[in-house]
């Protein structure tokens, strides 16, 4: 983990005083089949964007609450990296998009019969959302429905 004490002072201060949204009650879905038969989707907050889709908008107050759809068969290294947060080192993701959206690794697990299949669509948000009201009200239900429409069994989520 990132050691909290090693973070820059401005970030530690922000994280300490920010009124975090607390999930409650905590939902618990049940896996109804073996992982080797499950369809798996990835959700990242790295702000990656497929070629041809608009980048995230840094000027939206409270953070851009939109999301982008990433096709399951995309060459993951072609994704644009548009996250502009200064709170993390971007070099790793610039070098290898699998760090934020490990689609290549997921495909390998399908070949090894550890999961059933890669979902046809995956989701990318830009995580620097300080005012998540519109995210929760508008984007998240729509994004969740998209994965349900694709009969996704398991979703793995990746902050950066």
């Amino acid at each position: 983990m990132a050691r909290f004490a090693d973070l820059p002072l401005w970030l530690r201060t922000t994280l300490r005083v920010y009124p975090w949204r607390r999930i409650g009650p905590v939902p618990c879905a049940v896996l109804r089949k073996p992982l080797s038969e499950c369809r798996v989707a990835l959700v990242t907050s790295a702000g990656v964007v497929p070629v041809g889709q608009p980048p995230f908008d840094e000027s939206v107050r409270g953070g851009d609450f939109s999301y982008r759809v990433v096709a399951g068969d995309i060459d993951v290294q072609t994704l644009g990296e548009f996250h502009r947060s200064k709170s993390f080192d971007h070099a790793g993701i610039v070098a290898d998009r699998n760090l934020a959206l490990p689609l290549d690794r997921l495909r390998e697990l399908v070949i090894d019969h550890e999961i059933g299949e890669v979902a046809p669509r995956h989701l990318s948000f830009m995580g620097s959302i300080t005012a998540p009201g519109r995210l929760v009200r508008d984007s998240v239900p729509e994004a969740a429905q998209l994965l349900l429409d694709d009969h996704v069994d398991v979703a793995l989520l990746v902050p950066v």
């Binding site: 983990m1 409650g24 690794r105 994004a143 979703a155 793995l156």
Partner: protein, 93 residues
């Protein structure tokens, strides 16, 4: 803020019946947001799967993340130890 964004998406997916697990690099924040299942990794922000172009390590983190999907003791945070094949587990409450 990424951890909160991910947690809020995760909670909605789980409410609708999709089983979820998320990576965390800041378990202190994840404990406050309380997504159903999380895997704490010993990597800095920006490196949730460990290292660029290290397919073996990325696969191990991914497998450990998938292994959380059977858990019902939510909210929980497991700890990924790259030097060990076992994953220690502690509940957030």
């Amino acid at each position: 803020m990424c951890h909160q964004t991910v947690g809020l998406v995760q909670a909605e997916l789980e409410r609708r019946g999709i089983v979820t697990a998320s990576v965390t690099m800041l378990p202190e924040i994840t404990e406050r947001v309380r997504p159903p299942r999380a895997l704490s990794v010993p990597y800095p922000l920006g490196y949730p799967f460990g290292a660029a172009n290290d397919a073996g390590l990325q696969r191990r983190v991914l497998r450990a993340l998938l292994a959380q999907c059977d858990r019902h003791d939510v909210p929980s945070i497991a700890v990924f130890d790259p030097s060990d094949t076992l994953v220690a587990i502690y509940a957030t409450e």
